[in-house]
């Protein structure tokens, strides 16, 4: 068993505005092992994205602490790569210039790092498109470019904020496999936020189910090896898949009733 890389200790986050305050997260305790693929599943407004933003160091918790390798997260760091819901490619840059954005900002735009980024692009079969502009590419291609851009800075931890939600179903299935394979090969730790139960089961090693208002962890489910080991598309065919789907479905609907009663 590998060591814990990420730890949430009693993390609470409350957003304050002129209108008032919103409790986004309450008492989050969570440990993530190195190389583990975690899926966070929950209804909208349960603080999924807040968890990622905290981990990325974009915002700080109201109380509690988050540590990566026992060091408290205080600002953004190169250890963490963040992949957003849309590709957000810059339309004034070519694909090649887009994937170098992180390296430029981090002032690591060296020949070696640029070559590495191009290698990744090649791995995604997009090398021939390096001088194209983003609008000339399809949604799936663009999201692959976004993945290259995230991986180009060589993060240890990858945060995936519903990265497939804007894609059509076929592209989505193909991309799930590609992302899983790429991350496994490099032994990256990943946290995927999604509201798609099937996606969570097929991709993750462990699933965190969250409840809303305030956002909190409702249940953790370990995904068993027969579902965990194959690539996402194949694991959808494993018999246990349905069983887990039902289990999680029930769990999530309970959530819903609970919040309606309130």
């Amino acid at each position: 068993m590998s060591k814990d890389i990420i730890k949430f200790n009693n993390v609470c986050k409350t957003y304050v505005t002129m209108e008032g305050e919103t409790e986004a997260l309450r008492n989050i305790n969570l440990s993530i092992r190195e190389g583990e693929f975690i899926a966070i599943l929950g209804p909208s407004g349960c603080g999924k994205t807040t968890i990622l933003s905290l981990l990325a160091g974009l915002i700080s918790p109201t109380s509690g602490s988050i540590t990566i390798w026992n060091k408290e997260v205080k600002s953004t760091s190169q250890n963490v790569g963040y992949m957003l819901q849309h590709d957000y490619l810059l339309n004034w840059r070519t694909i090649k210039q887009n994937i170098m954005l992180g390296l430029e900002i981090l002032k690591q735009n060296t020949k070696e790092n640029r070559d590495y980024a191009l290698e990744l692009l090649d791995e995604m079969n997009l090398l021939p498109f390096q001088n194209y502009y983003a609008h000339q590419l399809s949604g799936g291609m663009r999201q692959r470019v976004a993945l290259v851009r995230t991986l180009a800075i060589k993060p240890y931890i990858l945060l995936l904020d519903e990265p497939f939600s804007a894609l059509d179903y076929t592209t989505r299935l193909r991309l799930e496999d590609l992302v899983s394979e790429t991350l496994r090969k490099r032994n990256k730790t990943a946290i995927l936020v999604t509201h798609d139960i099937a996606e969570a089961i097929s991709m993750a090693d462990r699933i965190i189910i969250m409840a809303t208002s305030p956002g909190r962890i409702k249940r953790e489910i370990e995904v068993p090896p027969p579902l965990r080991d194959p690539l996402p598309f194949s694991s959808r065919k494993v018999p246990e898949f349905q069983k887990y789907f039902q289990l999680i479905w029930r769990e999530m609907n309970e959530n819903e009733n609970e919040s309606i009663q309130k």
């Binding site: 339309n91 900002i105 000339q136």
Partner: protein, 294 residues
Amino acid sequence: MRMKTNQSKNNIQNPLPQGGNIIKRYLTRDAKSPAHAEYLKRERIQQLWVRFTQVALLIFLLALWEILTHYRILDPLLFSQPSKIWSMFISMLLKGELHNHIIATVLETIVGFILGTVSGTLIAIVIWWFPFLSRVLDPYLVVLNGMPKVALGPMFIVAFGGGYGGIIAMAIAISIIITTIVVYGSFREVDKNLIKLAKTFGANKRQIFQKIILPASFPTIVSTLKVNVGLAWVGVIVGEFLVSKQGLGYLIIYGFQVFNLTLVFVSLFIVAICASVMYQGVAILENRILRNRG
């Protein structure tokens, strides 16, 4: 108004396809298939008709003007005459009486236009950088923007003198505030997620501005250029009305004062041409800069 190349003008003489092979070949040039040729032919004939009508309309209006004034239906003292305007234009041009005026006005306009746009953008950058400042300045900008800048003319003459200084100040004043407001607005409208993206890589404020905000706002900045060309012309002409001893605005006022309306029309004609050329120049620049954006 768009200026077009001679090529289309040559074809205007015979816009219908029944003519010789040359015309047919022009109309179906670069066709990929018979159906495509048919489509191109239709589009191009349409295009030629538009050009033809544009030219015909111009000729018609000029002829009408000439005839009405020739037969004294309109008083030529008040409305002048296209033929008189043209001959005065040519004779002034040949005597070299126009050069100085044109150069003075065009230079003032270009300088006013560039300074107005650049300083408006710089102010927008400063306000973006210091959100506190933007909140403080907000009501001031609203008032200044609402103010008719031309009304400040006398102030500029007192402050910057009656020569180029006052005129250029007028041209700047008329465009700077609106540039600031529009460009600052576009800075603020940049997708917050692009900023978040840059932040995930640990970008600082300068990097966010340089890598995201500024390039994302480029289309807006370029489009303010187009507006500012027109505004700079307003500023310069009004400035020249007020003070100058040369320039096209001066010619207009002088012509009016000595009741030489032909001179006024000559000046207006030149202003129209210079302003169109500058506007087209900016439009071409805009195309160049924004060519690759989706």
